[in-house]
Every structure is written in structure tokens, then in C-alpha cells.
Assembly symmetry: C2
Homo-oligomer: 626 residues x 2
């Protein structure tokens, strides 16, 4: 152990004292709120003490400084001990901690980035390590800085597959600036965890997934100091500290006992428990200060991202929007160093490989692990270090819906691009068709949903997404479709395009992607029969341009037809209903996929599911009979 | 190897010949469809030959017989070789296989249970093993039968965390009737897999996750016969056969080469490739027949499930619907042996532990692995072996949305019960609040969505769900609310209850769960001021009782107010808009949560997000001003 200096006895005692201070604060706070997880805090107290007051390097008065080491509390229900650490570090007031979980307090039940010392929200278990991987990848390969990333997990959450996706990712990419800490306190919410204190099996699993692994006594501060120091020396591998701990550690008759998950200490034992912990503190007023970080990370560059030139598509050119996405991202990436791209082994289908060809050093292959891909992307985008675009088949974002849901709570600005939407993919069949993605993304409160219908508007969507706060989802399609906009067309979030109109339109038809082209084909068919329709491209499904839709509808007898390559629930049709439902006199007819589809040729399927030009024309004729 | 008898040379040659026949059929079929994955089939050909014509026991003319061994093709894109195996077994016509992926053919791009030899749809990777775990658990513990379960995975999909959730589950429950086969063909879709042919690491991972593991040459039929035989002898552990294979095995200049994923063989090489494979077949007309299964499994009992007695709640009693779910499921389970329950370490919150108390042998603790829980439940429910109810916080079903989506394609009848919906959970904060679950489940085409508002209607929902085909979702709430229905009230899918009405109601208010009680409180407030409202409990959100809602709306000046503890997109409000959007003269005002919420007291949050009684009363007053 050349180079390792054991901390002196005063420091070790100081760390032990801090552990108990953190326990005391966690118990006080959860008593004040009469809810929360003091026992899950107490198992982690010694780990937190050593991490925050011996190992990690950060500016305690500037928690979001870009040079700081990162800490992710994946076991988010232990939030009070994280808050307690920041009380001890001097950033949070103890009086504020006693407002834990109250409506007007930002110290919520689980951590969120409303707090400057939190980068990603946690509380849905198993998600922290993926985000930490994104931060560590960014530190090592994009920022090329010395900050390190620490992620604490509970043992219960190690049942989540997303943890093992992240484990495989971290070792594959040699993230030696990443340390995972497993707080193996043996007890889950409703019963012991499957492995209880089988430290050997935890260790084997971590090693098999390519991690340098140390099994330690999670309550021995000296052993912890040494283990974290050793982790700092390891090159080429992430390190996992598998810490044997006891839930409720330090609380008599509670420690290591069943049925104490998520329960504050009983009121009649409160004083006794706190006094007991207090009595173990040997130097009450001693404080330990964290080491400062290296100042080797530049502040984030927050300039707007733009293309070097307008798109070059000509009207009538044929290109799929999925390919146009790849072209656009490559152009944006070449002009803006902050852009990074991720994919889940579908890059030759989503066309993100066009970005990789020109910016290989900013492309992350995440393999077939969509949950982790989304978490890594969110991690990459924390503290505005990068502008991240992650792509896969839109259907497979359903695999990461919990990560996306949590991404909204994390205030992430990540961009997600889903290809192969709808039945128009054809022969591959329903497992590969996204037909619920609009419902899914619309129900994410911070999400902007782009649904471009040609190559030029896809360029617009990519640029806007890169500059729009919150989650952005871009839905792309597999079939080649005609370019309908000229290169100088301007696109805005929430602004629809009226792509066909006359003075005597009988119905407003709203389509997007392939169904916009079907709507235009229907307009051609109908025009020959003397019927004119107005056709609208919404461009963004959320926010939806209610004003344009309403004024068009009023110009067409209140009649709207929506047509979408999506299930009838939660998609374009319901978005339009939402926009007009408060207005009397508007009638919406909706064409959509209404049952689990099947394999077949794209056009056959559009026909069979009633969303092709001929069905639109028929629906128009029916409304004119009204 | 006492007891092992090496197959005779004729049998081994027969198996080798079948391998090549399966390759030929896969290549022919994908050439006919001009799409599909012949190279992913060829790597698995020898494994399929040995499994289907030497190891597995089944009735080739009755693929869904309850006594048969089960086979799950988790790498669903290799569908043609599964279909080819059933051609060789005599169940599928070769001519039909040449219609692969065509609109009128049930041999689709990925397998679905439209085919009698498929129990669960695959094609979204990493899901097969979880379903196979459910089948194996059912075989071992519920059916107590000798059928065995085989699941073939690709190496690419082993990056999916869901695979490792299933691995942990299978060893924890000692599923020695389960065999996983990893077809490690080294190449993914867009590049080599992360581990390529690192068989040692695969083996270590499987062993660390508690599996008996054999690394084999996946193209050596004799070695495969022996490995599968050995797997049959192992007690107390599942077995993983880690097979080193080559993608495109047997196709010259394609085998083990990049850039052949998902590509049919080139037309100009088609004949040469087929001739080459054909020339290796030594006894072209020889067939091998599978061994029959033991007839030790009873046919499924398809009797309707009923309670032994009506519910016993009195109007005005207070109980949360989550607790009422536990009470109901326990009652249903005691009276019906087919009912099984699963939970993800939340059983003391969802109250599924009330079922476990009375039917412990039919409760499966799935720990914190929601994806796997849903897959296991789907597996348990295949072939109608059980009626499965799986519960967790509704928010955490977002973790399994891809599994649920695929469940619809699988035609599963599984029941999913999500507790802790909405902001009314209070202090735990947004990570624990389901606010997109209605959007999510409504967009599943086979799904019935129950949203009971009191204990009695929860009993109704549970019984109906048990007897309803397709996926059923029951949304339950955390707070205690008053019982509003008498024990003899009858509930039906798609039938709403008008819970408050008079002859001069001014508005129709639709609430569900806690917001129904808020609506009733608003009615009380308004009544004192002389304003009457109609209040509707939809009971099921999908299907929604459009007739009752429309007739009520017409009786209340066309005015509807919806109020929901859910985001504004895709939930109750949009369901109502969907039901009335085709009708002129109806105006829908929607109260819903419109931003990421926070911690606080339940009533504080209902108020802050505008869905409490006072906001409903205010909205009513506003509409009366219209």
C-alpha cells in the first residue's frame, strides 16, 4: 500500500463523530416530518461521512461547480442523510432540514435538482448508477478532467436490471473515475433482500461485470478511507465498494431488525435514541472540511447551437425522416463541440451512425440497454456539460419510460430520437412498431414532442431540440417521403404549418409523418372530385398549435379529421381534442390504429388500419354529408 | 457421466442434417420475404435441432398441450428458424413458411401467440427469460409437473438488464426445470457485441447469478446433446448453456462477417448457398421425432372466478382502495386455486401481503425488479395455467412499459395493480407518484383500465379483472376514502355510476379515486349555495361509458368538468374528450396536474395542483357563468 497514509486518530474520530451527527440529523428530520427512512440513512452514515469529509473533493459553498466531484444517491429514499451531509458541510441550515418533506421546503422526500447539490432526481430505484456512468464518461472522455463520480446504491435496488446495464457499461468503457458504493444493509422494504449479507456473491457479480471490487465493513471509517484511496489508484476499471452494513445502525433495538423500513423513530424513544448517539460523539464541535477540487474543468459553454448552413433538400426529394435526423445531427455536431450522440446498437437504422462518422469521439455506443442509454444521456447532460441526443427505435423507449419520467423530475435537457414509428415500418411486425410513444412522451410534463414530416423540418426539429429546455422527443419514420418545405422555411416549437388550403376547404385534416403525406394524397384525390381540404402539419405535437388548428377548423365548418400512425389513445387525435375540447362547435373525427397490428407491406398496413389516403378521403366525404 | 448415453451416429447425423435443413428453410423464407434475419437463424440452427429433435418432450401435433416442454425464443428476430423447426416437426407447411412476413400469414417478422407453438411474443429483446421464469415457476410450484422450460437468448440482448433480473430470480427460486441457452454469435446489429466471444466472462456472470453453467461449442450436436442431458440432472439450480456460435454459420463468406445482420442472402448467391448446405445433408429424407411428454399436467380450469360472499363494507366506512385490493385478492384467492399474486417488495404498501397471509404458496416475491415481475406474471398466465395479479406502486409500472406493450402482443390476460397514484400520496414526492399511468395503460390496445373509488368497487374491479381477457390495470390510491356503494352494488366493465344527481344539475363532474370524493365534497359545498351538479364515477377509464357521460352532459347544458389526480395528457380528461369529441355542443373543462409536483401533505397538494373540492366548485361556478 505504498503511498497510502492512514488518517490520524483525530481525523478518524472526527469522521466517526460526523457519522453519528448525520444519524442524529436524519432521525430528527424524519421525526419532524413524521415520515421518511431513518434506518436506511443510518446504515449509510459512515460511508457518507468518509465520502463527504475525507474522500471527495468539492467546494462546499458551490455544490454545482463544474470542477467538483459528483455524488449520486441512487438509494434516494435515504435523502435525509444526504441533506444532513450538506448541513455538516455548511451549505444547508439545520433548521431547514427540520422542514423535511414539507410543502414549502426543497428538501423533499427524495432528492431533486431543485437542490444545487443534486444533479439527477432519484427515488425510483436502480437509476443512479446509469446517470453516474454518463457523468463519469463525460468527465473522462469529453471534459478530460480530474473530477470523480461516486454513486451510492442500496442492496435492494441491485435487483433492478438497470444496475447491471450500468455495471456492464462502466467496465466496457474503463470508467476508472467512477466508484459505486453498495450499502448492503440486508433488509428491503417488506422482507430481507434476496442475498442478505452474502457479500461473496455481491463481490462475484461485480467482478464478473468487470469491476475492481472491495468488500468492506461499511461501519469502519478507517477501512473505508483506505478502500476509497485504493479506488483512486486503479486504472482502467471502475471500482465497487461492497459495504456490509446494518440497517438502523447505531439505534438500539432497531439496528438490523425487521419492520423498520420507512418508519420514523417512535416518539417515546426519540430522546433516548438521540441521547445515546450524542453520547458517542467525542469532539462535538470539531468539523472536518472537504478538500477542494482541481480547477481543471471549463465552465459550460451555453451558446445557442446552430447549423453552419441551411439544409439543402429540394422539394420533391425523397428521404426518410430517420435518415434526415442522422444528416442533421452530423451537421450540428460538426459545428458544435457540445453535441454528443448515443445509440443502442441501432445506429445503422436510426442513422445516428452518420454522426459517428464525422464525430466518432463524441458518439457513445450503449448496446442493447435502452434504460442505461437514457440514464447515461441524462448523466452526460447534467450541469450543461453536453447537449445529448440518444436514439433507438421509438418502440424501445418504452423500455426506459421510468428513466424518462424521472428525467422530467431531474430537469434534464436530454433529446431522445425514436425511429420506426407506427405500422408504416411494415414487415418487422408489432414488436418493432411504436404506437404508444406519443402517449408516453406527451404525459411527461417537461417534454416537447416533435413529429417532423420531411427532411427539412427534421433539420428544424433537431436544431430546436438542441436549444430547447426540458426533454425533447423527435419521432422519426422509416419510409422515404417527399421533401415538402424549402430550405429557408423557418420552424418554431408550437407553430403548425398549413400545407394545403383554399378558400373553400370543407374539412381540416391534420396528419404528421407518413400520414401527412397520406393526407396530401387524399387532398389530390378529392380535388379531382371537386372537394377541397385544408391540410395541417402540426410539427410539434406538444405543445400543439391550438390557434392555427382552431382557426382552420372554424374555416372548415368546425370539422377536423386527425390521422395518425399511432394508437387512438394519447396521440395526435387526443392532443387535438385537448386543444379544441373547450370550444363548442368543433367536431373531431379520428383515424388511428385501434388494435395490435401485424406484419405486412407498409402501404398494406396503412390501408388495413384505416390511415391511408383512401380512408382519409372517405372520412372527408362522410363529414361533408354531415 | 453415469446414465448418459451418447446418441448413436445415425441420430447425430440426423441432427446435423436437420440443422442444415433449418438453415435452408430460414434462408429460403427470408429470401421469399426479402427481409428478416437469416444469419441470426444460422448461428442457432444446431441448438434448435438438438432441442427440438432430441432434448425437448412435446406433442408435435398439439403444440399448446399443457404437458409439453416450453420453448421461448427470446431472440425473436430469429423467428424463421423457429418456424422451420415446426416445419420439420410436421406442424407447419413449408409452403406456408415461404409466406413469411406477408400480410395474410401468421408467420410474422417476430413470433406471436397467434401461433399455437408460441406462448409469448418476442422481438423486444431481453424479455423471453423473464416469461420463461414464470412458466418454470408455474411448472415447479403450481402445476408440480415435469414439463421443462427452454429459453434461447442472443448475446446482444444480454446487455438488457431484464435478463439479469430474470437470472437472479431463477436461481433464487431454484428453478431447476429451466434452461437458458445463450447463442453467443459475437455480432450485434451494428457492431460486435461488447463481450464478443469472451465465453469466460459470460460463464462467470451466469455463475455469479447462481446458475449452473456449461460453455459449449454451439455447433457440435453431440456436445449439445450431452449438455442438455446434464442440465436435466441438476437439482436446485437453473442451467445456462453458453454456446459459442458463428453468425451466418454454414454460409460461405458470410459466416462470422460484419454487416450481415437482418439481411437476406443476395439473390445472385442464393442458389449457390442453398446447394452448398443441401450437399452437406447426408440422409435427406430421414426424420427424427420428438419424445412425447409425461402426461402429468391437468388441463387448465377455465371456470369463472367468484368470491364466496359479497363484500362487507358499510357506506361511510373509511378504507383506501389499495387496502381494499389486498382484502379482495385474499378473498378471491382463498376461493379460487388458480389465483396467484406477485409483488416487487412493496407488498406491505400495495397490501398484496393480505393475499400472502392466506395463500403463501401462491405468492411470488419478485423483489425490486418490476420488468421481471411483469414478465414472470405473463409467464405464469400462459396457457391459462394461472390467473396472475402483479402489484407495485403504479409509478413503477413505467419501468415495465415495454413488457406491458409486448404483453398485449402476447395476448396475455395478466392483471396489474398499481397503488400510490397521483399527488395524493403526499410527502414521498414526485418520484413515487404515478401521474402518467393512465396514459400508459390506455395506449395498450388490449387493456381494460379500472379506477375504483371505494372499497366496494375495488372488490368489483378485482373480480372483473380476474375474468376479463387482455391486460387489466387497476389503479389504487393511498388515502383512506369513504365507502360509497352498498355491498350488493353490481359493477360492469364500461358502465359508469351516476353517484349524485338532481333534476336541475348545472354541470356533469367526472372524478375517480380521490377526485371523485373531492367532487362529492364540491357538490356539498355548491348545494349550500343552491347549485346542483351531477357527479359520475366512470369505474373503468377504458372502456369509458360514453353513453352515460353523453346523456349526463346533455342534461347539464353540454358542460362537463373532469378532475383527475394525473397529468393532463392521456388520462381521464382526454378519455372523456375521446368519448364526446365527435359530438357537437359538448364542452369539457379539465382539471389535472400540469407540472412536476413536489412533497407536501396530500390535501395541500390536491389544492395546489387545482384538483381539490374548492377548485372543482370554482370551475363549476365558472361554467355556469358561460
Amino acid at each position: 500500500m505504498a503511498g497510502y497514509h492512514k488518517p490520524d486518530e483525530k481525523t478518524l474520530q472526527g469522521l466517526k463523530d460526523i457519522s453519528n451527527k448525520l444519524r442524529i440529523l436524519s432521525i430528527k428530520a424524519t421525526n419532524a416530518s413524521n415520515s421518511g427512512h431513518p434506518t436506511s440513512c443510518c446504515s449509510a452514515a459512515d460511508l457518507m461521512s468518509v465520502l463527504f469529509f475525507h474522500t471527495m473533493r468539492y467546494k462546499a459553498d458551490d455544490p454545482r461547480n463544474q470542477c467538483n466531484d459528483r455524488f449520486v444517491l441512487s438509494k434516494g429514499h435515504a435523502a435525509p442523510i444526504l441533506y444532513a451531509a450538506w448541513v455538516e458541510a455548511g451549505y444547508v441550515k439545520e433548521s431547514e432540514l427540520l422542514n423535511l418533506r414539507k410543502f414549502d421546503c426543497e428538501l423533499e422526500g427524495h432528492p431533486t435538482p431543485k437542490l444545487a447539490f443534486v444533479d439527477v432526481a432519484t427515488g425510483s430505484l436502480g437509476q443512479g448508477l446509469g446517470a453516474a456512468c454518463g457523468m463519469a464518461y463525460t468527465g473522462k472522455y469529453f471534459d478530460k478532467s480530474s473530477y470523480r463520480v461516486y454513486c451510492m446504491l442500496g442492496d435492494g435496488e441491485c435487483a433492478e436490471g438497470s444496475v447491471w446495464e450500468a455495471m456492464a457499461f462502466a467496465s466496457h468503457y474503463h470508467l476508472d473515475n467512477l466508484v459505486a458504493i453498495l450499502d448492503v444493509n440486508r433488509l428491503g422494504q417488506s422482507e430481507p433482500t434476496p442475498l442478505q449479507h452474502d457479500m461473496d456473491t455481491y463481490s462475484k457479480r461485480c467482478e464478473a461485470f468487470g469491476w475492481n471490487t472491495y468488500v468492506v465493513d461499511g461501519h469502519d471509517v478507517e477501512e473505508l478511507c483506505k478502500a476509497f484511496w485504493k479506488a483512486q489508484q486503479v486504472k482502467g476499471k471502475p471500482t465497487c465498494i461492497v459495504a456490509k452494513t446494518y440497517k438502523g445502525k447505531g439505534i438500539k433495538n432497531v439496528e438490523d431488525q425487521d419492520n423498520w423500513h420507512g418508519k420514523p423513530m417512535p416518539k417515546d424513544r426519540h430522546v433516548e435514541i438521540l441521547n445515546d448517539l450524542q453520547s458517542q460523539i467525542q469532539v462535538p464541535n470539531k468539523t472536518l472540511r472537504p478538500q477542494p477540487p482541481n480547477d481543471d474543468t471549463k465552465p459550460a459553454d451555453l451558446k445557442p447551437l446552430t447549423y453552419p448552413s441551411p439544409p439543402s433538400y429540394k422539394k420533391g426529394d425523397k428521404m426518410s425522416t430517420r435518415k434526415a435526423y442522422g444528416v442533421a445531427l452530423a451537421r450540428l455536431g460538426q459545428a458544435n463541440q457540445r453535441v454528443v450522440a448515443l445509440d443502442g446498437d441501432t445506429k445503422n437504422s436510426t442513422f445516428s451512425d452518420l454522426f459517428r462518422k464525422v464525430c466518432p469521439e463524441r458518439f457513445i455506443e450503449c448496446f442493447i440497454a435502452e434504460q442505461n442509454m437514457v440514464s447515461v444521456a441524462i448523466g452526460c447532460a447534467t450541469r450543461d456539460r453536453t447537449v445529448a441526443f440518444a436514439s433507438t427505435f421509438a418502440a424501445f423507449f418504452s423500455r426506459a419510460y421510468d428513466q424518462i419520467r424521472m428525467g422530467a423530475i431531474s430537469q434534464t435537457n436530454v433529446n431522445l430520437v425514436g425511429s420506426h414509428c407506427g405500422v408504416s415500418i411494415g414487415e418487422d411486425g408489432p414488436s418493432q412498431m411504436a404506437l404508444e410513444d406519443l402517449a408516453m412522451f406527451r404525459a411527461v410534463p417537461t417534454c416537447t414532442v416533435f413529429y417532423p414530416s420531411d427532411a427539412t423540418s427534421t433539420e428544424g426539429a433537431v436544431e430546436l431540440a438542441a436549444n430547447t429546455k426540458g426533454i425533447c422527443f423527435i419521432r422519426t419514420s422509416r419510409p422515404d417521403t417527399a421533401v415538402i418545405y424549402s430550405p429557408d422555411e423557418k420552424f418554431e416549437v408550437g407553430v403548425a404549418k398549413v400545407v394545403r388550403q383554399s378558400d373553400n376547404d370543407t374539412v381540416t385534416v391534420i396528419g404528421a409523418g407518413v400520414t401527412l403525406h397520406e393526407a396530401l394524397a387524399a387532398a389530390d384525390i378529392l380535388e379531382k372530385e371537386g372537394t377541397r381540404i385544408r391540410v395541417i402539419d402540426p410539427f410539434t405535437i406538444k405543445p400543439l398549435d391550438a390557434a392555427t388548428i382552431l382557426s382552420s377548423a372554424r374555416a372548415t365548418r368546425g370539422q377536423i379529421i386527425t390521422v395518425e400512425d399511432h394508437y387512438k389513445e394519447g396521440g395526435l387525435g387526443e392532443a387535438v381534442l385537448s386543444a379544441v375540447g373547450g370550444e363548442p362547435g368543433i367536431v373531431v373525427t379520428r383515424l388511428a390504429v385501434t388494435s395490435v397490428p401485424r406484419s405486412g407491406k407498409p402501404q398494406e398496413l396503412l390501408d388495413f388500419y384505416g390511415i391511408s389516403a383512401k380512408h382519409i378521403a372517405k372520412a372527408v366525404i362522410q363529414t361533408t354529408a354531415n
